[in-house]
C-alpha cells in the first residue's frame, strides 16, 4: 500500500508491524519521533510491546540487553550523543551476541553541539560489533528495519543490527513510500526463537560472565566469524525480501557503474543528489558512476574491489571526520579494499557535509571534474581534502 511518511514515522510503523516485545525508550533529536510515534501505538493498544521509558540512553540500551537476554525481542532508537552514551553497552550487546535492533538516526556528535546530519555518531560505533546498514531514503529506512531481525537473529550471526538513516534529511522529510501488509511483515520477520534465554526455566543460563585473558580472545574470534557470516545472510534476507516487496538490495548499490570511468563511493541520502549529478554528466557524455554503500559492517571488501576495478579514478566521500589526518573511515576501508587489485584506480578522499552542511548537485559535479582532471593529468594531487567549508583557498 502507498503512503506518505517521514523516515522516522516509516521506521516507527515498521516497529509497529513487527510488534516487538520490548522497547527501551529515550528521546534525542532527531530520532525522538520514533519512540514518540511508538508510544502512541502502545497507548492505543495497537502493539503489546513493553514500553520502558528510562532516564538515559545508557539505560535504554541496558533495557534492550536485559530483555533480549531474557528471550524477548528488543528495539531501540537513538542519535548522536545518545549513541555515544550507549557506547559501553553497544559492545556488551554485541559480545553477549544479543540481536537487538537499533534505529540510528544519524546526527553529528558534539562538539561543537549540532543537531544536523553527518555520520560521526555511528562511525564512532563502527568497531563495536554491530551490523550497520545505511538507508538512502525513507523507503530504504523502512525496508532495512524489517530486514534487520532476520539477519541479526540467525544463529550463525547472532549480532545486533543498527539501521541508519540521515537525520532530518531522511528522518523528517516526508516522501512517498510503499508499505507492506502487516501480516506479510510478521510472517517475514517471524518469531524470535533463541535456543537459550534467561527465562527458559528448564535451562538456567548465565549471560556475560567475566572473561579472563585465557578466553577473551576466543570469544572475539567468534564475534569476528559471526560478522563474516553476516554478509551472506544479509544477501539471503535481501533475496527473500525482494520476493515480498519487489525491491532489490545488495551490500551496496551500483549506479551507472558498468562502463564508468569516474566513480564516487558514498553513503546515505547524498546518493540521491549524486545520482542526479551522474545523470547530468552522462547526458554530456561523461562516463560517471556511483557506488552507494548500504552495508558498512560487515564491510563488502572483495565485492567493492571488483566493482572499483573498472573506473580510472574514484572519489570516496566521507560525511564524517575520523581525525586520522589521513582521511575519513569510508576512505580507509575503501582504499584498503582496493589494495589487492592488480590495476588500481586513482583514489581520493573528500570529507563533506559535516554537521548538516549541504551538498548540492553542483558540488558532486565538481568532484567528478576533479576526477576527470586526475585522469587527464595522471596527477592525484592532495589525496585527502574537505569540501563545502568557507576558505581563503579555492579548493573542491
Amino acid at each position: 500500500m502507498s503512503d506518505r511518511l517521514s523516515g522516522n514515522e516509516a521506521v516507527a510503523y515498521a516497529m509497529k508491524q513487527i510488534n516487538p516485545d520490548v522497547m527501551g525508550a529515550f528521546p534525542i533529536t532527531p530520532s525522538t519521533e520514533i519512540p514518540e510515534y511508538f508510544a502512541a501505538y502502545v497507548a492505543n493498544g495497537e502493539v503489546n510491546t513493553e514500553y520502558v521509558a528510562v532516564e538515559s540512553e545508557h539505560s535504554s540500551m541496558s533495557v534492550c540487553i536485559a530483555a533480549q537476554a531474557a528471550g524477548a525481542r528488543a528495539v531501540c532508537a537513538t542519535s548522536s550523543c545518545g549513541l555515544a552514551l550507549m557506547y559501553e553497552l553497544l559492545y556488551v550487546a554485541a559480545s553477549c551476541r544479543l540481536p537487538i535492533t537499533l534505529a540510528c538516526v544519524n546526527r553529528a556528535l558534539s562538539g561543537p553541539i549540532n543537531i544536523n546530519h553527518d555520520y560521526s555518531d555511528s562511525m564512532g560505533a563502527r568497531d563495536s560489533g554491530w551490523i550497520q546498514i545505511y538507508a538512502e531514503n525513507n523507503q530504504e529506512a523502512y525496508d532495512n528495519f524489517i530486514m534487520a531481525m532476520p539477519i541479526g537473529e540467525t544463529p550463525a550471526v547472532r549480532l545486533p543490527v543498527m539501521t541508519c538513516m540521515d537525520g532530518f534529511i531522511t528522518s523528517h522529510a516526508v516522501e512517498n513510500i510503499e508499505l507492506l501488509e502487516t501480516e506479510t511483515v510478521r510472517t517475514f520477520v517471524g518469531t524470535y526463537d533463541p535456543e537459550n534465554y534467561l527465562l527458559k526455566k528448564e535451562n538456567p543460563l548465565a549471560v556475560g560472565p567475566y572473561d579472563i585473558s585465557a578466553y577473551y580472545m576466543e570469544h572475539k574470534v567468534q564475534e569476528a566469524e559471526a560478522m563474516k557470516a553476516a554478509k551472506a545472510r544479509i544477501l539471503e534476507v535481501a533475496a527473500e525480501f525482494e520476493k515480498i516487496s519487489g525491491r532489490s538490495y545488495g551490500l551496496f548499490e551500483e549506479y551507472q557503474m558498468d562502463d564508468a570511468e569516474l566513480a564516487l563511493v558514498l553513503m546515505g541520502s547524498t546518493a540521491g543528489t549524486a545520482k542526479a549529478a551522474v545523470d547530468k554528466l552522462r547526458e554530456q557524455g561523461v562516463k560517471a558512476g556511483l557506488v552507494k554503500i548500504r552495508v558498512f559492517r560487515p564491510f563488502p571488501c572483495e565485492e567493492l574491489a571488483q566493482v572499483l576495478a573498472g573506473p580510472k579514478a574514484v572519489a570516496v566521500m566521507d560525511k564524517s571526520e575520523g581525525f586520522s589526518a589521513n582521511g575519513g573511515p569510508l576512505f580507509a576501508e575503501t582504499r584498503s579494499a582496493l589494495y589487492d587489485l592488480k590495476d588500481r584506480p586513482y583514489v581520493i578522499n573528500i570529507v563533506y557535509g559535516l554537521g548538516g552542511r549541504d551538498a548540492k548537485v553542483e558540488d558532486i559535479e565538481k568532484v567528478f571534474k576533479r576526477l576527470a582532471d586526475i585522469v587527464a593529468t595522471g596527477e592525484t594531487g592532495p589525496v585527502y581534502t574537505h569540501m563545502g567549508q568557507r576558505s581563503k583557498e579555492d579548493m573542491v
Binding site: A206, P209, Y215, E218
Partner: protein
C-alpha cells in the same frame, strides 16, 4: 550444548559457547578460588556453639552447614576476608592466621 566443566583453557574457540554463555547454575563450585587467600581462618570446633552467625556473614559460601552444625571451612572457596572471625561471639572458635594455607 557444552557443560561448564568441559570448558577449560585448552578449549578451541569453535567449542566455546557464544559470548561465553553458561548453560547451568552453580558452576562456581567447580573453580578453586581459595588460592586468592593471603590470610586464613582456622576453625576450632570445641570453642564453637554453632550459633550460625558466621554462616550468613560469609560473602562466599565457604562455611558448610550440616544437621544444624557448621563444619570446617571450605578452603577451596574461602578468600580469607576475616569477616567470620570478626562477627564470631565465642573467643577461640575462629582465629585468623597469616598465609594462604591453614596450619
Amino acid at each position: 550444548m557444552i557443560r561448564a566443566k568441559y570448558i577449560n583453557e585448552q578449549t578451541p574457540w569453535q567449542d566455546l559457547t557464544p559470548g561465553g554463555e553458561i548453560y547451568e547454575p552453580g558452576t562456581a563450585r567447580e573453580f578453586n578460588t581459595g588460592t586468592w587467600r593471603t590470610d586464613t581462618p582456622v576453625f576450632v570446633v570445641e570453642a564453637c556453639k554453632h550459633c550460625m552467625l558466621c554462616v550468613p556473614f560469609c560473602p562466599d559460601s565457604a562455611i558448610p552447614v550440616k544437621g544444624g552444625k557448621r563444619l570446617d571451612f571450605d578452603y577451596m572457596h574461602c578468600k580469607g576476608c576475616g569477616i567470620c572471625a570478626e562477627v564470631c561471639p565465642f573467643p577461640g572458635a575462629i582465629t585468623m592466621v597469616s598465609g594462604g594455607v591453614p596450619s
